[in-house]
């Protein structure tokens, strides 16, 4: 893959170029190591490596270790719960919006476009706030649902924000398919709706998988915004709670950040794996040239916090 990428920009290297890039390598490594050294040194000066601060997080013998990791585990479960609900809802609703937008006439489309533009134009944190705090104020009661008001307020906020982004992704995915796919399906006697369902949507999901996954990562991260708004014990809130008791914010949030990175990295790898498996099976429809400006792995259409 990286071979391919470089081919665009760089010529095959000759001996001089190889020597130069070796020197560059050494210099770059030295600079990066130096930087790392300064950071570690300064942190050590501030006593940030003391066992008093790290112990509860990494030493199973520490008295608080079990409690801390119980909180973190709960946090992970809650984060994943909210994220999974929001993901499923926004993908489903987003697909419906995309299909509606693609199959409605010019006029019928206008309210949908308005909806998409407004929800895309607002910060997620504002939408989550509206979901969690404003909805109950205007009389929408979600506290009866399993999981409670805050969870569903959060899920609604995230869903409203992300469904329109997924709608755009799916729409772009359908638009990026070669025109012939739709025509072949119609010529084969499928109805418009069958064409959409059997031929276009499955392929759109495949082509847009990278974009979909990076948006799913955004959803997962955005669950943490609820900390500013209300009490829901997701991962970040649990981190707050831990450091409040132990007085080690840097260490705690470092671990929390690693957990987020690990979760999202796995999600990203999953996408790459699926993508590669499809490429091997040769199932991808369109070469990059045909996908209207949407190179695989393109940056997300939306992107929350």
């Amino acid at each position: 893959m990286s071979q391919q990428e470089q081919a665009v920009l760089y010529d095959a290297q000759g001996p001089k170029a190889r020597r130069r890039s070796l020197i560059g390598t050494v210099v770059a490594v030295l600079v990066l190591l130096g930087l790392a050294y300064v950071v570690v040194r300064r942190l050590a000066d501030q006593d940030q490596f003391s066992m008093e601060k790290w112990g509860p997080l990494i030493d199973p013998g520490d008295e608080n270790f079990d409690a801390v990791w119980r909180l973190i585990r709960e946090g992970i479960v809650n984060t994943l719960t909210a994220a999974a609900l929001a993901m499923v809802l926004s993908v489903v609703l987003g697909t419906l919006i995309a299909v509606a937008r693609l199959s409605l006439g010019r006029v019928g489309r206008i309210p949908l476009i308005g909806l998409v533009e407004i929800f895309r134009g607002l910060p997620v944190v504002v939408l989550v706030f509206i979901g969690v705090r404003v909805l109950p104020d205007v009389g929408v009661d979600l506290s009866g649902l399993p999981g409670g008001q805050v969870l569903w307020g959060l899920v609604i906020g995230l869903t409203v924000y992300n469904m329109v982004i997924f709608a755009e992704i799916v729409r772009a995915g359908v638009a990026s398919l070669p025109r012939g796919q739709r025509e072949a399906a119609l010529a084969n006697g499928l109805t418009n709706w069958q064409t959409m369902r059997i031929v276009l949507l499955p392929q759109a999901f495949r082509t847009m998988l990278p974009a979909i996954i990076s948006q799913l990562i955004v959803v997962l991260k955005d669950t943490s915004l609820v900390t500013f708004i209300a009490n829901y014990d997701e991962l970040l809130s649990q981190g707050e709670s831990i450091q409040r008791n132990l007085g080690n914010p840097i260490q705690t949030f470092f671990v929390i950040a690693l957990i987020y990175i690990a979760m999202n990295y796995c999600l990203g790898r999953l996408a790459q794996y699926i993508e590669r498996r499809q490429a091997r099976a040769g199932r991808s429809t369109a070469g990059p040239a045909e996908t209207a400006g949407l190179a695989p792995g393109a940056a997300p259409v939306g992107g929350g916090a």
Binding site: E183, A184, L190, A281, G282, R283
Partner: protein, 251 residues
């Protein structure tokens, strides 16, 4: 395949006109195609061949005139249109196999979803058709794993699976490597011999000579000349046809 034994043409275009914005791409087209007839459409790029072909199953709606198939007017939309399209097979220049389905699924999809045949029966029939076009061994692969020639033969099998009354081919071999062109043309010649009604847009004179009943020469959105293949290639009447033939024949 010919159900009604009357003398009426299977496909009839009368006074067909179509515009793309300002561009008048089909101008007063009159054309009748009888059962079992093979018509080759030839002409320079942009002359409207593809549009003509696509108008016959209404992938392009027309602006004026009438197209009838088997005596019935082309429906404008909805279920009837889908049903009609099922009766008209179409093979595209770029194959357009469904990339996310295997070869077998590609062929069986229409019969199952449109003709509502049981899956097993449809797949059995699909295997027969793949056998007939010579790609039976590839049934479980995905389209991208096949060569162009193989893909195009699958596309033909997919169209045949619907048991169409007429088949439309839009430059079926022009996206193929030279070595693969013949394997596709052979299948098409076979179809013609079996009595299939065919409209074929192509520049392959070999095919026209071997299989066509008639050659239709288009230029600038009009049918300029209609003739027997041999006559057309050896002594075209119109100047435009002469000019065109001189361009594609010299090299």
């Amino acid at each position: 395949m010919t159900s009604r034994p009357n003398g009426e043409p299977l496909v009839r275009l009368s006074g067909v006109n179509k515009w793309f914005g300002e561009l008048h791409v089909l101008q007063d087209i009159d054309l009748s195609i009888d059962r079992g007839e093979v018509v080759v459409v030839i002409g320079p790029s942009g002359s409207g061949k593809s549009t003509l072909c696509r108008a016959i199953n209404r992938l392009e709606p027309i602006d004026k005139g009438e197209i009838t198939i088997d005596g019935g007017r082309l429906p404008e939309e909805g279920k009837e249109l889908a049903r009609l399209r099922a009766d008209v097979g179409m093979v595209f220049q770029s194959f357009n196999l469904f990339a996310h389905k295997t070869v077998l699924e590609n062929v069986a999809l229409g019969p199952v979803k449109v003709r509502k045949k049981p899956k097993a029966e449809a797949e059995g029939r699909a295997r027969e058709l793949l056998e007939r076009v010579g790609v039976a061994s590839q049934a479980d692969k995905y389209p991208a794993q096949l060569s162009g020639g193989q893909q195009q033969r699958v596309a033909i099998a997919r169209a045949l699976a619907m048991e169409p009354k007429v088949m439309l081919f839009d430059e079926p071999t022009s996206a193929l490597d030279p070595e693969m062109i013949n394997e596709v043309l052979d299948v098409m010649v076979g179809l013609a011999k079996d009595g299939m009604t065919m409209v074929v847009v192509t520049h392959e004179m070999g095919f026209a000579r071997r299989a066509a009943n008639r050659v239709v020469f288009m230029d600038g959105g009009r049918i300029v000349e209609t003739a027997e293949p041999e006559t057309f290639f050896t002594s075209p009447r119109s100047d435009r046809a002469k000019d065109f033939l001189s361009k594609i024949l010299t090299h």
